[in-house]
Homo-oligomer: 180 residues x 2
């Protein structure tokens, strides 16, 4: 059995359903941060993931043929997460997109969410702004806000102690809100 | 103090953060269903909401000037929820949109979410399909899938025992996935 479980954007966001699935696993994979958020509910073996990619996912899927395996995903596995990459049952978690919507008091049904990690997404953002005028971009430090037309707000470290709302991107875990 | 707290799409989806906020409230408002999901964590007075609307929200905001108030919202308050309607701090919850994405193995960054409750949204859906080709519609029984061009999948009662994936809409809590 193979589950991909969202642990939320910070500590304290785990649901009871997620805790239950995690506690039943023989082996739990996850980044250092994801393991940290879920650690008190893990009963099986912990395997910290230091790299990600097809080879790693193939190995996990192989192990899951014989054992009860959970792969932890920070935030929600279906928000630029591991859900599409690993062939398992997905259990949702609270994503930083939800925290951004909560802080900005925006409804998901009035925005478009664009993933800009490791790719050029300015064309997609322009089309999204033409369609709805309100766009949330999952961005890293390479994102250049001067390349989009609209009012820009940067939200960083959402849910963490150093949560920050401003105009500059300082981390690789930023959400950029653009309104036009 | 006034909080709008997401209790998730079904029982078992409450986060620790949400439980903590709920347990500190003097007064907790919510629909019968929302109260049911959160009941074991409520220490204060329960006020079941039977109708919704500006008048009710004004009254809640008035009470919150003197007491610690929580308004429960099924799913996530920022997904066609109470978050935009009530002037309080929003705490996210797991929405049925997230469960739909998990079941369909779709990423939030490849879809558009459209609210079709109590309104004609066919034009918006057409534009969303032209933009991204993959649309999730929050729909009720009045929604007519024959009015959209694309492959339709209906997901109902997500997270509940009678969860169902099919082609017909039988409830007012449906998510319709359209792909083109």
């Amino acid at each position: 059995m193979l589950y991909v479980v969202g642990v939320g954007a910070a500590k304290g966001y785990l649901t009871d359903k997620a805790k239950q699935i995690i506690s039943k696993a023989d082996v739990v994979y996850g980044s250092k941060r994801a393991i940290e958020y879920a650690e008190e509910f893990i009963r099986g073996e912990i395997r910290v993931l230091k790299k990600f990619g097809r080879e790693v996912y193939d190995e996990i899927e192989r192990v899951a043929k014989e054992k009860n395996v959970v792969v932890l995903s920070t935030g929600d596995p279906m928000v630029s997460g591991l859900g599409k990459k690993i062939n398992g049952i997905v259990e949702p978690g609270i994503s930083s997109v939800q925290l951004a919507l909560a802080r900005l008091k925006l409804d998901l049904c009035e925005v478009v969410v664009v993933d800009s990690h490791g790719k050029n997404s300015y064309d997609e953002i322009e089309k999204a702004l033409e369609f709805r005028g309100k766009v949330l971009v999952l961005a890293d430090k390479n994102f250049d806000p001067s390349k989009v037309r609209g009012k820009v707000t940067v939200l960083e470290n959402l849910g963490l102690e150093n949560e920050r709302i401003g105009e500059e991107i300082k981390s690789d875990l930023a959400i950029v809100y653009i309104e036009r």
